[in-house]
Symmetry: D2
């Protein structure tokens, strides 16, 4: 008999940057919900206690849920919604009209799913150079500058060190930092925008070994805007195992249902299927694995893949198109949010 | 008890373009092997019978195995090896010195792992324009032109139709077609070059629904050069399940071995671990799944993922760097192979 | 005494693709003018006689004059104006709702001022792949496909041959071709859009030695959309000589005007200065050159530069920003114009 | 009669970054010359006095003259020559083996002629991240990091401020800074590499209003590597006027030479033609302009163009191809020069 306890389940940090995925199993918290047509904005005010319990930072988290940003009509609704969300956050944390802003695009311009930050910054309206050149600024605008620090893999420099160095020179009053995130669930990829005043944290997103970029470490407010564009390998495997069970549960339920027999498997929707299998059935299909918790399965898979040195990105095939849409969306929303009136 | 036979295992085509992965379980064939330092070139002359048996086309397949193309020394050895391999193939299929060549880069320039073809073509030395402009060509050179047709997702046109249309106008004597491929095994990603005179086939690589690009369909010899840069989601899941077993087998074997206890899991190499678990142990760990064939597991996973509409790419994180190295490698090798002397 | 007639003034074709620059000195023609705020649309219906007299093709030419497309408000007005202009042309040449369209982006994606066509096509909404994949098309849309053939310098193939080849395969009912043009006057660079049903002609724009792309050569209607993004070296030199005269004329006029003395030269606006110098003054400043016609000066400069083999592009410094704005403008305008309702 | 003295000739800085163009009319200086096949390396040790007299900084200037870097054989000779030149400079200024290096690519990645710096840095082998990740470095390598600060037009931040900020964080022992330069002569564009230990200076190259990047301002040695990729508008005009005279001089000389009559103008090589016209002839052809000094003509043209607000780049048409070759050349040369052995 194989001793599962050989597997130390604590060793592997599970990779997700989405508060909603961290907090999901956690009941005692308040959330505020707004609906824009087919778009939902969820605002969570994470207090100290809850924050600690899910190993996140205390602060405001806004999550925008949408299904498709590539259709023009959805795009415009989403633009409206995200502009409002950014403005809300800017107000909540008391950013004054005369505060200057540095917009930072994290990530690797050359790796499609990681290019969200740099591509967004490419379309940010900067104004600081006008002042630098000695002209005065239309009072409709803030002083805005931008930075694309690159990733340590290509610069050899901690992203945070570059940002810190630049901040000490140009002294912006606050930062907006855009980054591609990792999700722990396939279903949220490219369908979620997260805004928070808590900054960006080590090992988050695609940029590992990066030190925290936040008010605590930089001394100025940091608004982090992220979209999950990848999941890691462990996620896709554990998601699949999870679907396997729903699949079997569905098959079992309908085993003598002639109508279902006629539905081609590719059209059988068990995604939302709720009837779950019992412990015995799970064991029958997947043995020991069958009765592990999601987290345990992920840790196990991490333990299995790590020695193989596979450092993998999982992204949708049409990623290039989606990223260009999403980066132009964020740029437009940020530009509008930074205008004064 | 759940009826596994509910799952029709034939429904899903398994995605691999690597002959070695198709032929691996198949014994009766000849291969010729050359070694260049740490690089291996395998040449298979697929006869009709074998070809049919593995559902591939009759013809010559050369597979170059390497570990790392990013180190300068390896790069140069690999360049030498692949140049020789391309020249061999050119000779084997009797390409004459006065044959003109059209080099085609398949794939989507904007999706990093799929950009191999376009990036390679960017560095191909073309000569045809000299002739077009009315000058005569140094007899050291062939007439060479190039084409980047794009992908149907962005052009709305079958890649093959574009190539066919251009061929009818400029009448090249043969084609070299470069494409990113899909592997059915994580271990070969970005570590294999495949050359063949059989062209490129429907549903291969990243470009589905593409009609065959080959001598049979275009009327001129087609040399296809491919490198696997992605695996699909089903592959990574089934690979992981496979590693799970090796992992447990390794853990079990060493359960009372104090020395192993001291090795951090991340350094325990069970990748090549050969002692396998028996039917019972597999069942214990993974139930019914545990005793399916690899192909059955893949088909099952495909059946599970398909209805969810997940169309995923799995690539290494440093893909942008690797692709730029590999495309410059292929360009240099093709340029040298097309020179006359 | 030096014999000017040594210089044969007929030898050099003057490079401009803007009808307004060809026709400017020519009086007997009708034009229709529309005004959108600060934007002007000029429509010329070129009859056979006039066409011959200025060595252009008979047909409809629409010229949109604007000053700055980078400001958001101007951008939207310009988008409205150019959408209307494209729709007008589509109607005038009787494109039916069920006509399929191939949108072609000419030029070199990698040379900023020449990338207008490819960048525009990147954002064209294509629909043809839906039909290709066997689905039916929302009747709000035409069948639209796109092509970026590249330039002969990098493909070794005549752009026209590629287009022709593809057309014969996919049989579109009409073409929209986008290209960067050459202007013969600095003042129109990036400030003019030209639409015409006469197609694109040899030696136009940046792509020399390219054969005509038009209804006559391809058999289907061709709508050409161009923006001048460069002038050639001869243009900038002759423009400057021309400004020299205005400058001196201005200086002379104001030589004893103390107020003008106080205006820093960089702010003295003689651009629109109309008082011109007489023959003698011109001779005094510029000798023989001073009394040549613009065309003669250009021909002379061409004669001087040609043997030096200088093949130059002259573009504004902020060209990359302008091109990305203008290509997104054209893409949006074309997408709207191709929608049915 | 028009008063030329109305034109203040001191107002306009002439734009050139090439020491050889500044020093050309200046006789009393030593230079050391090496020849590699068709490549020439000129080393000038500018002393205080000479430096002041031409308004440049005291220091070492190495100029590499070549004709074509796109041909493979030339490329390799040039690579050898420039590697040697960089190594020489590194030794001359006493860079120790254990000095860490920050390689900075100045310029705008998105404007082809200005992308030389960023593209070069893309291929620099960085090693610092290995140390950052806690591993130790093969003693064959220095600690190397890289930075692409962008241009003020897109970041709103002085390039120098970004560099300064990063330097204060990571404390490199010396810098290598790559930039596209402006030439004051068409003939040197893309055919010259300049190395100097004096850094990069205000108003140089394409990046105006940039503060000095040098040992004096940053506190660590700065090796500047530049290639002229553009000339400004005034240059091309004054060059042309200059060619006009050579042209007429040539025409005059050969006016009765029947043989010359047979040579098509495009093949008459007067480029190196030395017989010059006398004062009277110049006046006859070009009046007052005809007898101005080159500098006076340039200043005059600058005065004429400035109020028109034309901020122009003049580059060869094939610039994208040349830039990609030259950036890969510099990257290879820098990588080799930074290796230890």
């Amino acid at each position: 008999m194989i001793k599962m306890h050989e597997v130390d389940l604590s060793k592997y940090k599970l990779r997700t940057d989405l508060i909603t995925e961290n907090i999901s199993n956690y009941k005692q918290y308040q959330k505020e919900v707004e609906i824009y047509k087919n778009i939902k904005i969820e605002t969570i005010n994470l207090d100290d206690k809850t924050a600690k319990s899910i190993n996140k930072k205390k602060g405001i988290y806004k999550t925008i849920y949408f299904e498709d940003a590539t259709d023009e009509e959805n795009f415009n609704t989403l633009l409206e919604a995200s502009t409002k969300a950014i403005k809300d956050l800017i107000n909540k944390i008391k950013i004054k009209d005369d505060y200057s802003c540095l917009v930072v695009g994290l990530g690797n311009r050359k790796a499609t799913p990681d290019a969200l930050g740099p591509l967004t910054v490419d379309s940010i309206k900067i104004t600081r150079e006008i002042v630098e050149l000695g002209f005065s600024l239309d009072n409709k605008y803030r002083i805005i500058s931008s930075l694309v620090p690159g990733v340590m893999g290509t610069t050899g420099i901690e992203t945070k060190e570059i940002i810190e160095g630049v901040i000490e020179k140009i002294k912006p009053d606050f930062l907006i930092v855009i980054d591609a995130l990792a999700a722990s669930n396939l279903e949220r990829i490219n369908k979620t925008i997260q805004l928070t005043d808590t900054g960006i944290h080590p090992g988050s997103g695609l940029l590992n070994n990066r030190h925290e970029i936040s008010k605590e470490t930089l001394g100025v407010p940091v608004i982090a805007i992220g979209i999950p564009t990848v999941v890691d390998a462990t996620t896709i495997v554990s998601n699949t195992i999870n679907y396997l069970f729903r699949h079997f549960s569905y098959e079992k339920e309908n085993i003598d249902n002639q109508k279902v027999k006629l539905i081609p498997p590719s059209s059988r929707n068990y995604k939302e299927y709720d009837k779950t299998l019992n412990k015995e059935e799970r064991k029958e299909i997947m043995g020991l694995i069958g009765n592990l918790e999601d987290n345990q399965i992920k840790s196990l898979i991490a333990e299995v893949l790590t020695p193989l040195g596979y450092n993998l990105l999982v992204t949708p095939k049409e990623i290039d198109f989606v990223i260009s849409k999403l980066s132009s969306l964020l740029a437009k929303a940020i530009n509008k949010s930074l205008e004064l009136n």
